[in-house]
Subunit: 115 residues, 2 copies
């Protein structure tokens, strides 16, 4: 996953969906970065995918939030074969523990300095 200081994904007009993925990694690293990058490329191709935010505290928690227009977009992403394989490897190797919260956005707002 990129560590560039990109801006957060802007708020969209509700309703839309967030998928909040919070995780603690194992020490195992082989293939993780490549897979994460590849997943970013794949999810971007899903119709109804709106964007993604990622942050990772060194040695601590990682949080990825995906934004989707509707449930169908999430369903389509869940069905992608390579995504399922990556999830399996995640459970086998990369993650000590994770939580997923799928939620429908009811309200959103943002702030930009100088605007």
């Amino acid at each position: 996953m990129s560590d560039l200081p990109v801006a957060p994904v802007p708020p969209f007009e509700p309703p839309y969906y967030t998928v909040v993925f919070t995780s603690l990694r194992t020490e195992a690293d082989h293939g993780y970065d490549e897979t994460a990058e590849h997943m970013e490329e794949l999810v971007a191709k899903i119709p109804g995918f709106l964007g993604m935010d990622s942050a990772h505290t060194p040695g601590g928690l990682g949080i990825t939030v995906g934004y989707f227009r509707d449930e169908d977009a999430i369903k389509e992403w869940r069905a992608v074969t390579e995504h399922r394989a990556a999830q399996r490897r995640g459970r086998e190797e990369w993650y000590e523990t994770y939580s997923v919260h799928v939620a429908k956005v009811e309200r959103s707002y943002g702030f930009e300095r100088g605007s």
Copy 2:
């Protein structure tokens, strides 16, 4: 905010709410850590507050996700005077840009190694 490798907040039984706060900081730092820690103490006192996950990529994005039982809990947190003051300082000094997504969780699940 603590950088300890704590576990992610576990999934709760839906429905509940997530407040996703994604931000990019300015260079200004004075008082930020103290205020963030104080906010963590304050929000924990709100009835219906369930937990909070935070991750911060050095030099990049910060993500904080708060979990609340219902809208009333979020409303109560929004009304806390010190919280409002901290938000104001955030806009004046600490944040270059941020987004907030308030969403109702419909589905949640988790994984724990060895369980």
